[in-house]
């Protein structure tokens, strides 16, 4: 009899739920998609209900609840920090202690009560796992490898910030760890904060900014902030940081080191921010390579699995692939704390890894959220009286491919929703990567976000190497590769461009997805994991000779990715998206009734 486990992560950042039966992942989703609050950290009631519904289960059918971290161990770290820093952290103490003593110490009891309130049956026993143990399980157990080295790197969970594991059979065996406050995630977040972006969500922006700068501060970072040892371990000089004392990441010491106070959020970006981003990115890559080398040495394995928030740094992942330290790497698509729910559930269910025989991983393209069948979509469209055309599969593909080739932007809502921060073709906005205007159109008129931010390409897996220097598949858009030499363009008179002016140069045959350093965050699309998207790309390739499209998440800046047909239609109408393909239904913007809202929706979405 296989065990059914419901995994939960909550109360820190990006709450989520996952249902695992035996070794089989049935459903997983983040609360933010349902609550429509980005990175929602509350109890994931809606995600739990959705996952159970996808699995066709009630709580009565669940054998065990798996919680992704150990709240008491976390409290011991919080307390030790206060002991080490008193009297400097009084204001943080005053704010956090009532919460800890009031309910956080008995988090498992609170989780029990919240589950009972769902009215989905009796609550089974709750087991807790360690934060990094959950990450490690999410990295290894669904991976396509019999055995592998496992590396988890994040901000902090309980104490551990960096852990090395050996994954074999159904187990992850702990080997080495680094503990708080020595954390690569916190180092990166400190620079995110200092450059005026939001901690825990602006890290992507910092990574996207790095190619505009030069790593001139890297020696200073190595000398003052982080002590990197030959064995891969490292230590932060916490004298330069403020995170031990309260809510901000950096203070005066840090500002003195880098020539003045932090950039104000939404303020102008200067060469200093570009250079800081390039510098911390370079140091992060060095540390990740060192850690990977340590993992290689300790385990003797030729394959590496990654999880933890830092594993979402796809530029560093690309460097890992390029380094050839390992034959292949696999990154958990929900590498952040949402993935902890999945890891904990996999540990609790402890079933056989049946996917190993298939040569694929166990994540099924990360399409683990809710899906909507044609009837459900049609009921919605008809109830709203919206004009649409219902097309056969082939017809939909060829029509959408035609629209894309004309330069139109298409909302692509197909099948189950993705688990993890990336849209992978279930809830995506697509465009023509060959179009030089596409990056600014999508940034400014569709996503309403900063113009410097790059877009990611999707490419037919079988044609990936014609366009990108990629040594392995990248099904989850978590590996950055260089655009292949033969696709690049050298535009005369652009060599002197610096900073954001670099955007003015046409860099390749697929400019919309080529970053200023010719890198691209590639997603390779295989026929068996996503036949819909693969079919569309194939059709587009046949028409245009180009197997690449732009793929960005179906949302506007600051908003969670759309979950339901309702969300998708709203986002479609609020933006300059030209057409919406939702299941087999195609909606054209020009056919739609005028859209108006009484309130200013832009003012209601907080900036990310």
């Amino acid at each position: 009899m296989s065990t059914t486990a419901l995994g939960i992560s909550s109360y820190y950042h990006d709450s989520a739920a996952a249902v695992v039966e035996g070794g089989h992942i049935v459903a997983a989703a983040q609360q933010e998609r349902f609550s429509r609050r980005r990175h929602d950290a509350g109890f994931p009631a809606l995600a739990v209900a959705s996952c159970l519904a996808e699995a066709g289960r009630k709580l009565d059918d669940v054998d065990v609840i798996a919680y992704y971290e150990d709240p008491r161990l976390k409290f011991s770290r919080v307390l030790a920090t206060y002991l080490a820093t008193a009297p400097r952290a009084w204001s943080s103490f005053r704010r956090s202690m009532p919460e800890w003593l009031g309910w956080k110490l008995r988090t498992l009891g609170v989780v029990h009560d919240e589950l009972a309130r769902l009215d989905l049956g009796a609550v089974p026993p709750i087991r807790r796992f360690r934060h990094h143990e959950s990450h490690a399980a999410s990295a290894f157990l669904p991976s396509p490898y019999e055995s592998a080295a496992v590396l988890c790197v994040d901000g902090v969970g309980e104490w551990a910030t960096t852990t090395l594991w050996h994954g074999r059979d159904r187990r992850v065996e702990p080997l080495r760890e680094l503990r708080f406050p020595h954390s690569l995630g916190l180092l990166y977040s400190a620079f995110t904060y200092f450059c005026g972006f939001k901690v825990d969500s602006g890290e992507y922006k910092l990574m996207g900014l790095a190619p505009y700068g030069r790593p001139v501060y890297a020696p200073l970072i190595r000398e003052k902030l982080v002590d990197i040892r030959p064995d891969g371990s490292f230590r932060l000089d916490t004298g330069y940081f403020e995170f031990l004392y309260g809510q901000v990441m950096t203070g005066r010491g840090f500002a003195e080191l880098f020539g003045g106070p932090r950039r104000e959020p939404e303020g102008p970006l200067t060469e200093r921010e570009f250079d800081l981003a390039a510098s911390v990115q370079l140091v992060t890559e060095e540390i990740m390579l060192n850690l990977a080398a340590a993992a290689r040495e300790l385990t003797g394995e030729r394959r590496l699995c990654l999880a933890g928030g830092v594993a979402l740094n796809c530029v560093a992942n690309g460097k890992l692939v390029e380094s050839e330290l390992f034959d292949e790497i696999w990154v958990q698509p929900a590498a952040g704390d949402a993935g902890g729910a999945l890891g904990a559930a996999l540990l609790a269910a402890n079933g056989p890894r049946d996917h190993l025989g298939s040569g694929r991983d166990g994540m099924r393209g990360a399409r683990l959220g809710p899906g909507y069948d044609a009837d459900r979509i049609q009921v919605y469209l008809d109830a709203q009286g919206l004009p649409y055309r219902r097309l056969a599969t082939d017809e939909l593909r060829s029509t959408v491919a035609g629209l894309l080739a004309e330069g139109k932007v298409v909302g692509w809502f197909q099948g189950r929703m993705e688990f993890g921060p990336r849209a992978l073709g279930g809830r995506s906005i697509l465009g023509d990567a060959r179009n030089a205007e596409m990056q600014s159109t999508m940034n400014l008129k569709i996503k309403f976000r900063e113009s410097f931010r790059p877009f990611a390409p999707i490419v037919l897996a079988e044609h990936a190497t014609e366009y990108f220097d990629l040594r392995q598949d990248s099904p989850y858009m978590l590996i950055v590769a260089q655009v292949a030499e033969q696709r690049r363009l050298q535009q005369a008179g652009t060599e002197h461009l610096r900073g954001l002016d670099l955007l003015r140069a046409r860099r390749s045959q697929i400019p919309a997805v080529t970053h200023v350093d010719h890198s691209a965050r590639v997603q390779t699309v295989a026929q068996d994991t996503d036949p819909d998207l693969h079919g569309l790309l194939t059709e587009f390739h046949a028409r245009t000779g180009c197997p690449v499209l732009v793929n960005t998440s179906f949302n506007v800046r600051g908003e969670p990715i759309v979950a339901t047909p309702e969300d998708a239609y709203r986002c479609f109408m609020r933006t300059d998206i030209d057409a919406l393909a939702i299941g087999r239904f195609l909606l054209l913007k020009s056919d739609q009734p005028p859209w108006h809202e009484d309130t200013d929706w832009r003012g209601q979405i907080p900036l990310d």
């Binding site: 307390l79 030790a80 920090t81 206060y82 002991l83 080490a84 820093t85 008193a86 009297p87 009084w90 103490f93 005053r94 202690m97 009532p98 796992f129 360690r130 143990e133 551990a160 852990t163 090395l164 594991w165 065996e173 702990p174 080997l175 080495r176 760890e177 680094l178 503990r179 708080f180 406050p181 020595h182 002590d227 040892r229 030959p230 064995d231 891969g232 371990s233 490292f234 230590r235 000089d237 916490t238 031990l244 340590a294």
Partner: protein, 52 residues
């Protein structure tokens, strides 16, 4: 929350923090609970993971 309750809570928290301060200062005589000092040049910072 009434003013009286708020004041009482703040007072209790202050007392608790005073205790943290005293224990912290005493504890720091025996070393840093967060191990923030640099290791000798020949060593690294890895710790053996315990089995969970």
């Amino acid at each position: 929350m009434t003013f009286a309750r708020h004041a009482l809570l703040t007072l209790l928290l202050l007392l608790a923090y005073l205790l943290v301060l005293v224990l912290g200062l005493l504890g720091r005589l025996f070393g840093d609970p967060l191990r923030r000092r640099p290791a000798p040049a020949s060593a690294g910072y890895w710790r053996q993971s315990r089995r969970y």
